[in-house]
Each structure stands twice: as structure tokens, then as C-alpha cells.
């Protein structure tokens, strides 16, 4: 699959995109894998109350994934594009 990085996350990984083969089947597992690889913090943000401010955003094939879905298996597969992004700050 293709993984794209944006903003300060791109700077931390030192790449804007990469092709990656993974055994991770959930967003949580993939983030854990990348955290170990690039020493990036992806703090848990699936608080049901939504009280924790989001520190990063994930999209699969240009569809935003809610943090409550990060533990759901098979939201992505080979050939998909996953974007890992900081909170938006346009304009």
C-alpha cells in the first residue's frame, strides 16, 4: 500500500510517501508499526467522549477515518492509499 505523510509528520518521517507491505490489519496496528519505525508519537485518541483533541488524522483512499474506527480490522488492503496528517490549519 501507499502511505502518505503531511506537515510535521512528513518532516519526522523525512518522506512524503512510501510503498509499504504490512501485516497490520487495523489503523491502530499500522500506527504502532510506524511509531516504532520513525519514533513518532501517535497518542491514543479514541476517547468515546471525544474530549481528547485530535493530534493527527487518518484517511484511507481520501475517506477520513474516525478515531473510533482505528481498531476495526480490514479498513484497508493492498493497493490502498493511507494518508497520515496533522490536524488541519488552513487559511
Amino acid at each position: 500500500m501507499r502511505i502518505e505523510y503531511y506537515g510535521h509528520i512528513r518532516e519526522q518521517t523525512q518522506k512524503s510517501a512510501e510503498e509499504r507491505i504490512t501485516n497490520s490489519s487495523t489503523i491502530d496496528a499500522l500506527l504502532h508499526e510506524l511509531q516504532g519505525l520513525y519514533h513518532i508519537e501517535f497518542p491514543a485518541q479514541n476517547s468515546p467522549s471525544g474530549a481528547t483533541p485530535q493530534t493527527f488524522i487518518v484517511a484511507v483512499n481520501a475517506h477520513l477515518i474516525q478515531p473510533t474506527q482505528f481498531s476495526i480490522p480490514n479498513l484497508f488492503r493492498d493497493g490502498d492509499t493511507i494518508a497520515i496528517m496533522p490536524p488541519f490549519s488552513g487559511g
Binding site: 488524522i57 481520501a62 496533522p86 490549519s89 488552513g90 487559511g91
Partner: protein, 151 residues
Amino acid sequence: MGNENQPFFQSGVFPKGTYTLSDLISHLKQDPIIKECGAIMTFTGIVRGVSQNSSSKMHVKNIHVEANIGLANQALQQICTDLQQGDVKRVIIYHGEGEFAAGEDLVHVIVAGGHRHAAFATLQQAIERYKSTAAIWKKEILDDGTEQWVH
């Protein structure tokens, strides 16, 4: 900026220097729908010359703007589609990407409507929505060379 098969305007993120507010207004005035409009409201977001980091009042030399173009365009076009109804005839958002100096234009939001009240309210809604839903990021480059992402 559009032909018979496309919307008159396609809002989105575009490289710096490829359009001006004046270009956008001139083009909008060629849209046949403008005959139904009595007001054009515009908002221009510019690069603030003082850092947004509250712990410092450092001067900003440049700002770097980057976007996930696919996601950002999708969000900007959705905002325009959602808000373009009733008395509000056109909503257009053009956001720049690249390197900008303090004072330069970053984003233009334009609303054309039958009357001013609906157009004013829609302009504000469009601004609030693009800030929270468009996949765009800014990094300040300060006078002393330090860099910081704006959150």
C-alpha cells in the same frame, strides 16, 4: 477556469501566483447567474506578520503552505455545494499553496447572492468550514530562522 461541461468555478487549492482576487471576480462576472445577484462578498486571508504562537511575538518572514490536494479540494468543493442554495448563487474558495511572504494573500472566499444578508452569513460559514475541514497546513518561518507548524 471551466467550460460547458464543468462548473463555472471549481474551488480548490492552487499554486501561488496562478490567480488573483481580481481574476476571480472578473471571471465570476461572466457567469450568467450573476444576473440574479445583487451582492458579491469577499474574504481574503493574508499571512500574518507576527507569529501565531502565543508564547512569542516573533516576526514571520515566510509561511509555507502545503495540502493533501485530493482531500482539500473535495472538502472545499463540498462546502461550496452545501452553501450554494436559495438566495446564495455562487460560493467560491481558492486557497494558495507554496511559499508566501508576510502580507501576501493566502485564501479568497467569494460569495455572490441575490441580497447582502444571506451572502454575509454564508461568507462567514464558508470561512469557518474551510478552516476546520480542508486538509491544508501552514508552517511559519520566523525572522530568526526558526520554523514552527501552526496548529
